[in-house]
């Protein structure tokens, strides 16, 4: 590269400071020989440098940063979310713990719904009452014509399925000793009555009961005997009679006989009423 008047300035300082070497140094020397006025300029400034000046800056302390700064715990957004969730869970947990362990804070129910006795449930009365399957059969036949209001009552009756608990056996023994002779006497009287009506051809049959009916009653009562013996409630005895004897009048007559024999107390009106209401509403409805 040729050094000329245009570009000599960029090589001048290197030349003055002795940093120009080789080909460029020769070029520079040749250029200065050609231009002595420029060489005179360079001679005047070759060592014109500023001298060292010490100036103190008074505000250093304000620029310094303290070294022993307390460590700051960096709170990130994720940490904030985590702490919020944890605190919420803690509050909920404490609240539940407090409610659970403080009886005064228990919520009182507005209403207690007790489950209705189902068909499968077993109800043992004191003393236990055992109803014959025939009674249940009779109630089933009647069930079709029963209005919805009687549904609950029927469910209760269905629940009274035959059971043979220890208590029921004891009761059975107790009633057998008491009622068996009486019932045997009643059956014997009916049998005698039937025999009398059959043997005396002139004698008219019973105005209420035909001989065949009596036989049917006695036959039907025979398997019920153990059951009847253990039943003390008059209403249930009447119901047995009603289910066994389809005709209500005949059943009433049978009940009357039972009253005469001393098996049932003399409360016919109550008996009829109970029978109407409880067991055979269709009979009275037809009437």
């Amino acid at each position: 590269m040729e050094i000329n008047k245009i570009n000599y300035e960029q090589y001048a300082m290197d030349y003055l400071e002795g940093n120009l070497k080789g080909y460029l140094l020769q070029e520079m020397e040749a250029f200065l020989k050609k231009h002595p006025n420029i060489k005179a300029e360079l001679d005047g400034i070759e060592l014109c440098y500023l001298e060292e000046v010490n100036i103190h800056y008074a505000g250093k302390e304000s620029l310094l940063k303290p070294l022993a700064t307390p460590k700051r715990f960096l709170i990130t957004k994720q940490f904030q979310y985590f702490t919020a969730a944890a605190s919420l869970l803690l509050v909920l947990g404490l609240g539940l713990f407090y409610i659970k362990n403080n009886p005064s804070n228990h919520l009182k129910p507005l209403a207690v719904i007790e489950p209705l006795p189902t068909i499968d449930s077993e109800i043992v009365l004191d003393p236990p009452i055992v109803i014959s399957p025939k009674i249940i059969h009779a109630t089933k036949t009647v069930q079709k014509s029963i209005n919805p209001k009687e549904e609950t009552r029927l469910k209760m009756q269905k629940a009274l399925t035959p059971t043979e608990s220890v208590e029921s056996v004891k009761v059975k023994k107790h009633f057998n000793t008491k009622t068996e002779p009486i019932l045997n006497k009643a059956i014997a009287n009916h049998t005698l009555e039937i025999k009398q009506t059959n043997t005396s051809s002139n004698h008219k049959p019973h105005k209420h009961l035909k001989p065949q009916t009596h036989i049917r009653i006695i036959d039907s009562l025979a398997p019920l005997r153990p059951t009847v013996e253990m039943i003390e409630d008059e209403r249930l005895i009447s119901s047995i009679a009603m289910t066994t004897i389809p005709n209500f009048k005949k059943a009433s007559r049978f009940n009357k006989n039972l009253v005469k024999l001393g098996i049932l107390p003399e409360r016919k009106s109550t008996l009829k009423k109970n029978l109407r209401e409880a067991l055979v509403p269709e009979v009275f409805a037809s009437k």
Binding site: E9, Q10, Y11, A12, M13, D14, E41, D43, G44, I45, L47, C48, Y49, L50, E51, E52, V53, N54, I55, H56, Y57, G59, K60, S62, L63, L64, K65, L67, T69
Partner: protein, 167 residues
């Protein structure tokens, strides 16, 4: 750069930066502001700036502040009034003061490169990086600055021998 290294930068370079600023502005208050702003910027970027580059970063920042100020106040020129040459003052005239006066006659960029070269000892390449110039440009600016200073000294009657060796 750590906090400790930053504090070291303050201890090492605050005086130098202040000298550079005050020589450039000829105004102590402005020079203080420039130093403070430069160190504030360094602290903001202290995690990114290496300690070995801190000095260059400080001077680059200061130089940029000067450029910004110059652009804002283009019409305002902070040039010192050159005292008229008086024959009777020559003998008592201090070379140091004469050079200071000559320095004030330089343009901003000439002043900057001369200050960085003479006071801080930066190479032409480093000065080029700080001032965002080419190396050749820096050399030309410095040569012209020295030539101008020399002319002033000659006009004041100070011979070459006196300039070099003082009295």
């Amino acid at each position: 750069m750590t906090r400790k290294e930053y504090n070291n930068c303050v201890q090492l370079f605050a005086d130098r930066l202040f000298r550079f600023a005050i020589k450039k502005t000829c105004d102590e208050a402005r020079a203080r502001d420039i130093v403070q702003q430069s160190f504030e910027k360094l602290w903001l970027k202290h995690e990114e700036v290496n300690f070995s580059k801190a000095k260059a970063y400080l001077f680059t920042t200061a130089h940029n502040f000067f450029i910004d100020e110059y652009r804002k106040n283009k019409k305002i020129q902070h040039t010192a009034i050159v005292p008229e040459f008086q024959e009777n003052r020559y003998d008592n005239f201090d070379l140091k003061d004469t050079l200071e006066i000559a320095l004030k006659q330089l343009s901003d960029i000439q002043k900057t490169v001369v200050l960085l070269r003479d006071y801080e000892g930066y190479s032409y390449k480093e000065i080029a990086e700080i001032c965002n110039l080419s190396e050749a440009q820096v050399k030309v600016y410095i040569f012209r600055a020295r030539k101008k200073m020399q002319q002033l000294l000659i006009s004041m009657g100070i011979s070459r021998k006196k300039v070099v060796y003082g009295n």
